[in-house]
Symmetry: C2
Subunit: 116 residues, 2 copies
DNA sequence: GTTAAATATAGATCATCATCTATATGTTGT
DNA sequence: ACAACATATAGATGATGATCTATATTTAAC
């Protein structure tokens, strides 16, 4: 489990407007102007949100004429569901199984418990 | 689907350190000092993170002597999985099925398409 | 080629956040 | 009571983020 990568996806999703965009795209691809119709904010703001979602690997963009078509990436859907399950279900080997640190523990100060 | 509430959970999770805390708690309850052993940051910073997780309904706290025991809330696990499925799977009725807004559309300017 | 439409970029602003140090509060054992 | 430990609170700081206005770029249509 890579906390950094999963965290990036979560951060990109952690905005009500972007959640709604993802929800819209879960039904199929849409172009920017169609998405914009569902919101109150300005076009540059939408452009910003779509960039954030792309940078997180959540959506892909395909230009067709003057339209940008956005699609929810299946790889994201798979990875996100997988990471969520890994996080919320107790895994076979838990970080906490390593026990607390002792005074002369070699792990002290170093994050060797990382599951990344 | 309540984007605001789901967004709050996501925002609270959208930090690598808090993700690791959740991962630790997925194996069972832990007290603050045991959690702190797995990190490099200071005790007040942990205190802050635990508050954020509590405020989002992700964990619960139970004081026992001088120890605070933290537990991953089963209700959170259920709700989060449910919301995630709702978001990523095309629902029967999609916002986009309503079609684009027309000039005299009564929906114009009002977010009546909300699925909340 | 000029106009209109769709989208992107630049730069600014205000809010939120992760972290720190310093200190306070509460609890247990002597 | 006092010392030691576990945790919380206050306040500051530097970074990041959501949004805006203004403007640029790209593309289709006439």
């Amino acid at each position: 489990m890579n906390y950094e990568n999963y965290g990036q996806m979560l951060k990109a999703m952690a905005d009500p407007n972007r959640l709604k965009i993802i929800d819209l795209l879960s039904c199929g691809s849409l172009c920017a102007c169609d998405i914009l119709d569902h919101f109150d904010f300005t076009q540059p703001t939408l452009s910003h949100h779509m960039k954030v979602l792309q940078a997180a690997g959540i959506i892909s963009a395909r230009k067709e004429g003057k339209w940008q078509h956005y699609t929810l990436r299946p790889e994201f859907i798979d990875l996100f569901k997988r990471d969520t399950d890994t996080l919320l279900n107790a895994s076979e080997h838990c970080v906490c199984d390593d026990g607390p640190l002792q005074e002369n523990d070699s792990r002290k100060g170093v994050l060797t418990n990382e599951k990344d």
